[in-house]
């Protein structure tokens, strides 16, 4: 189960596992809850996440889409490894998330 912290409209989730197809069903339930409320900003802490596959990318994009539809304005990704930051660039998604080192 992910570590979740809520503070003044900003919710931070740290899955702590690889965000891959086998893990996505459980993670999806957590992300749906976080993006359907009054949160203005979602922070995804990738400490402990070594791999994201295209199912995982789909989950993060779905979270961003849901947050935007619910009136939120930003998804920030923190503590991503160099390989994962490179993945976002290769897949041309780096302009659609705030990637903070």
């Amino acid at each position: 189960m992910s570590h979740i912290d809520r503070k003044e409209g900003v919710v931070t989730i740290r899955p702590g596992v690889d965000i891959v197809a086998s893990a996505c069903p459980n993670l999806k339930k957590e992300f749906i809850e976080l993006t359907s409320g009054d949160n203005k900003k979602l922070v995804i802490d990738l400490s402990g996440t070594e791999m994201i596959d295209s199912s995982g990318l789909g989950l993060l994009i779905s979270a961003r889409n849901s947050l935007t539809e619910a009136g939120g304005d930003e998804v920030e990704i923190i503590n991503a490894s160099a390989d994962i930051r490179q993945l976002f660039m290769v897949m041309r998604l780096d302009n659609h998330f705030t990637l903070t080192e």
């Binding site: 891959v20 197809a21 086998s22 070594e50 791999m51 596959d53 295209s54 199912s55 990318l57 789909g58 989950l59 994009i61 779905s62 889409n65 490894s81 390989d83 993945l87 290769v90 897949m91 041309r92 998604l93 302009n95 659609h96």
Partner: protein
């Protein structure tokens, strides 16, 4: 947990796996160890990522998660190339049309598997039926 069937010699690894995402997780560990043992300077993230995409496609789209249907993965070193094949028992698909598609929309939540293989510069093809994927990439020594 269904077991993996593994055959390995010095430069070739063959794994037969059931069509589950949990089996994919276990295969990725085995294949990463195999590729690392070959002594090439590689980015293991890239290969693990591409293998996941290939196997996820076979499990989800090819065999539609039918655990009774097996998937055969072969990884071989041929000269300085890494050669991968993934064969499922599905009906195949029109892969030539799919790989010509434009880049997936940033809002789309699926449809990035083959695109990512191309973006990481793997040579990609299928058999005519579209149920056996072939990938090739030159390894740095």
């Amino acid at each position: 947990m269904t077991s993996l069937a593994i055959k390995e010699d010095n430069s070739r690894l063959e794994i037969t796996l059931p069509s589950t995402l949990e089996a994919v997780d276990r295969v990725i560990i085995k294949t990463t160890e195999f590729i690392t043992r070959q002594g090439f300077a590689i980015n293991s993230f890239t290969y693990a990522y591409i293998l996941r995409e290939a196997l996820n496609n076979a499990v989800i789209h090819g065999n539609r998660k039918d655990e009774s249907l097996l998937i055969k993965l072969t990884i071989a070193i041929q000269d300085t190339d890494l050669v991968i094949s993934v064969c499922d028992k599905g009906d195949g698909f029109d892969w030539r049309t799919v790989i010509k598609r434009e880049q997936t929309s940033p809002e789309a939540t699926s449809g990035r598997g083959l695109y990512s293989m191309q973006q990481y510069h793997f040579d990609l093809s299928y058999n005519d039926k579209g149920n056996e994927l072939y990938l090739r990439k030159k390894l740095e020594s």
